[in-house]
Symmetry: C3
Subunit: 500 residues, 3 copies
């Protein structure tokens, strides 16, 4: 059912313009500033006896927000640049769908959770963080289909992904009243299974035709490390961005920081252990080292204790790395799930672990450790949920994990069906992982014609490569390779050369 | 009038040493810590009844300051690395002139706005932010002349640019009493026209001789995306760094965040619509996506409303991208303005739009929306400006825009005249966009001699290239190209090849 | 005594697993949340009359902490990517040892300074910053031995380095009661001499066998600039992260910002002055521009005055750049110290200068400048140290510098002895600076075999290179070079070519 026409000159602009126009209208109808970002804040301060401007929520959360923002745009974007010829698509489409997604998320999440009595959604920095979180779910899903879909498909994936996320989040946080500070369930489990299910629906039996591009080169691996490190460093901000003021944010940072540190060591250990001659594999270092951050997402704000965080990170580093070594090939071969970035190892498994750890930690919470007040504050046993017991909370956490799984898999199958329609401009199997179908890629060798002597003797084509017949010219430049030839010779590229 | 001697061994060290020495002396005479950074802060706290250290302005502004700092050094620096062989110059000269500029800005802006009764300039974090802002104006100007000037010229451009900026800013903010939180007028309009006027004065009719280097390669485009993304992500901090504590900073962030998101979608739409086969152009993604941040600069702190921000971003994405497609070639061909980075599209037009949006928003401000107190606080209708009406404020905003334009164009023509003197070591037309004239560029091919068999038969030179005659040797390495030849063959380089 | 077997498949996993398990156990026994990160914070607030959550130390220090975190992982990591084929090792091993080091540092520093009456170490954001600082010392040491050691050796270096650091820090800060906000002595002097002493112990007389890899390529220099700029930008956060709330942090930022700006200009000046044709050397721009941040480390929180900071930066830029030009070759030739990154110029000399500047500034402190209260607060003349005079404090600062030197040099010699044991899997002299011995490096040319015609006529090998005999195949791919050959020809690589 695949359509190899990658021309999106109509569909992409139409989708962008129409959707963005819709955003303008919906924002006009629904979105307003909240009390802390509205010009009447000073009156609000007086009315509510807030002693200083610094107690505006902005100052509690803005530094974390910016860190999350960096994770979404630079972290996810650059992490996916590892492919040798899909860096533009990685960082550029990541940029596009995040920019759309955050607007749609402000609306969807707003309707569910920030709707004021006047029917308006009142936004502040917390909504911006939530929108970025919501987008992160879709970017994780992008990781599973990286290089195999068109930008229009990605926008559709995002539209539905954000919608599903908002519903799932509402069920998990408001109805089940589960806690999920860093989104192990809401973001990672949902996002990863959503992407994997889509990838399963879009299975490409002949993807090995693109295998020459499905790998990294030296520099692209270094670019990917930019993404890895910004994700790794700012993950404490991610897990603490929306937790309680004071100790809640403080503790979430410590737990995440420790879990991530522990993951690095066990990822390195397993990577070395399972490779010939003990050499490390950049794929593991780029990805598995982050699993600890995913897996403390739910429990980061709880009294997980520093050693508890280390233990979570310890096992996630092992599991995630083993996943890259054994599970990814297995999924592709036996379950027909092609997972470009290995999101199953980095987000799905650690996300599920995170949900389980969260459920156990919640169920095991005692007044001895938390204090009466601490228990109420941490788990928000207040209002309708006054008197909830920790063990019941543990049950709700477990139920929440199931909801995330169901929404991820079910939503992914549904959206996958839509994305199979032959109208989205996705690439043929042999054109995957190649930027040149959606980007003007600079013809690196176009200088060659300048410096080749004009009297050069031309010969007939001797080679066909990558669908380009080399015509009766003495120089041929493909996106990847500069090919030139004469009686005597020859082609060359960035990295290799042929001659006759 | 061009001097192709790019040796700056005398002029560059002399300028650096003399100017830096001058800075030391002037700082010694004029600059002191302000009350919030001085060791006597605790006394000040008691005297002024400030209840906690956290109300030191430092904690309101330092996170934003660091984001702005990243925009200035990494954002602008890496945005300009897109050229295939001018990355050192892009990021290195950006570094140099910013480091000088911020010192000079502290003095110039200090004399105009932070001079205490004792004749000293008292500095704190707000001054550091202002200095970074001031520098940003000059870095925008650098974008217009990127690759065509010497480092000494850039330092001269910065010296005068900072000076002009400080005067223009004083007129706009203090005399006209206009508001310009994110500097749509003060920074972007001024900086862009300043650079464009200089570029016009330094017009190079034979610049096409460097055309082979006036483009990107795959990796340089990915490096540039680092700059783009850090600018895009941190722009909310830029526009809110100096706004009022509390709601002022909070609202400026929301407006900027939304405007930028909207811009991304319309930039992508137009880029795809106007290219063959709907392919995206990295130049647009790298630059036009930022136009929304420029254009809400003035109005970011006003009650622009979330949908208002989206609308501004919507149109700026379109206009900026169309500018890259149609206006930049037009300016070069018909107005003799060579604008390397397209600052006209990214800063000049959006800056003017931002000024107009600011004037309209200010003029349309009502007590219904702002409240009496809000109106006074937001527009600072206080002291000498007590009782100013919004419509009058709108007029002042419009006048401010004209001041920025006049200073930019007038100042650029004046400084351009100075930079035409044949003493600055600027490159010849055929040497533009090439790092090797100001940087020790690693001789990438120097290993070749090691591995070429010594008994290789030498032949006479067959080629002259890039001013280097290939001498009677079988290997020639230029900065860019490894050339080697024998009876049978051949040269090769990173990207292309010649053979005989 | 060098063992050229670089197989670390046993040793690396064992060390990682055992040490990480030890961390889990020790954390379980010793580490707990402190009052500000514990769930009982609200009780603590009430008991201690803290009026708002925003006065949790978290909000004073978290933005600075994240900046420091970026410096440690991206700053140091990318600064070392300048080598053409050691980027994986630079950024990857930096990641590994930092992740281990911060855990061990939490314990070691905790035992010395955060041990509560119940025998537990209570941690909060300040401990995380301290751990990152401690790690920075070891990463500096890594700079001296970059490319010449195995990851196992690096872990050993880190284990002992952190231990020595904690002792040295305790002596300097607690016993001698010296102040060292940004760690000119504690971090930079100690770390640099520790690394240099190790490098001296591990002297490799035949290192020139790796000289072809001991340099940069164009792109690797741009990657290194990412490290440089993040270090440069966030250095004010580094020097202020642990200073006093309020004016202490504010002033440390201003001093560091100014010193660094000044250093850039003098580094550029000297770099240009001492190179042929005034061309700038990227090594100087990448490194010497940071010397000013090191050198105001101790005095950043003192009343150094803005011009004082400029003066410190001024001279450090000169000294550090001259160090790269003259001293590094001298050290290698005459003292047998091979200093890959030039840490002697960037950290050792500026660190010592910083210690001296700190001692002088402290000794010169007067009540006129500081006020009685300011003097007590700034230098902590309280408790056991009540009534200390500034001149005595100056003496203690000088003594502290000596302690740092002794621990660095002595510790380095001791650890160097251990690292000389032939069990660590370090590379042979000709294998240094080459990622392929510890990393699965992508065989960039492996596509060549696909596109070479199958009927290509093979010939006998004609070349042996880099220990790889070219076998009876027409294509040979090494990690670095694609080599291919036939009757007529030839090999090519990323950067160079051979032919027959």
């Amino acid at each position: 059912p695949h359509n190899s026409n990658t021309n999106v000159r109509v569909s992409l602009p139409v989708v962008c313009f129409v959707w963005q126009t819709a955003m303008v209208i919906l924002f006009g109808v629904f979105i307003r500033y909240n009390a802390e970002s509205d010009v009447r804040w000073r009156e609000f301060r007086r009315t509510n006896n807030i002693s200083s401007d610094i107690e505006n929520d902005f100052y509690f959360r803005y530094p974390s927000f910016q860190d999350v923002h960096v994770m979404v745009f630079v972290g996810f974007g650059f992490l996916m640049t590892f492919l040798k010829r899909y860096s533009f698509g990685a960082v550029g489409f990541n940029f596009l769908i995040a920019a759309f997604g955050l607007q749609w998320a402000l609306l969807m999440q707003g309707w569910f959770s920030s709707l004021d009595t006047d029917g308006k959604i009142k936004i502040g920095v917390e909504n911006l963080i939530n929108a970025d979180f919501c987008v992160a779910g879709c970017l994780i899903a992008y990781g599973a289909v990286l290089g195999k879909v068109s930008p229009v498909q990605l926008l559709v994936l995002t539209l539905f992904g954000i919608t599903l996320y908002a519903v799932e989040e509402y069920i998990i946080l408001s109805i089940l009243h589960a806690r999920d500070a860093g989104g192990s369930m809401v973001i990672h489990t949902f996002g990863a299974y959503y992407g994997l299910a889509i990838s399963w629906m879009l299975y490409r039996p002949n993807l090995e035709q693109s295998s020459r591009l499905q790998g990294s080169v030296y520099h692209s691996d270094v670019f990917a490390m930019i993404g890895t490190l910004f994700l790794w460093m700012f993950w404490p901000s991610f897990n603490s961005a929306l937790t309680d003021h004071g100790d809640g944010q403080h503790r979430a940072v410590i737990n995440t920081y420790l879990s991530l540190a522990s993951t690095v060591l066990t990822s390195v250990a397993v990577s070395s252990l399972f490779q010939k001659q003990g050499k490390l594999d950049m794929v593991h270092i780029q990805n598995a080292t982050l699993a600890g951050g995913v897996a403390v997402g739910t429990a980061a704000e709880f009294m997980l204790m520093p050693y508890g965080s280390l233990i979570v990170g310890f096992f996630c580093g092992i599991i995630s790395t083993l996943g890259y070594i054994y599970l990814t090939p297995f999924l592709e071969k036996h379950l027909k799930i092609q997972d470009t970035c290995g999101v199953h190892n980095l987000h799905a498994m650690p996300g599920v672990i995170g949900g389980v750890v969260g459920a156990i930690t919640a169920a095991a919470a005692t007044e001895t450790v938390y204090g009466k007040e601490g228990l109420i504050n941490t788990f928000d046993f207040d209002g309708d949920f006054k008197g909830t017991t920790p063990s019941r909370q543990g049950g709700m956490q477990a139920a929440a994990l199931c909801v995330a799984l169901v929404f991820g898999i079910g939503g992914g199958i549904f959206v996958g069906c839509i994305l199979r329609l032959p109208i989205w401009g996705d690439p043929a199997d042999e054109d995957c992982f190649d930027d040149q179908f959606y980007w003007e890629v600079n013809q690196e060798g176009n200088i060659a014609s300048e410096i080749l002597p004009e009297d050069e003797e031309s010969v007939e084509p001797v080679l066909e490569y990558n669908n380009h017949t080399i015509r009766n010219k003495n120089v041929y430049v493909s996106n990847l390779y500069l090919i030139c030839e004469t009686k005597q010779l020859c082609f060359v590229s960035n990295t290799f050369l042929y001659f006759q």
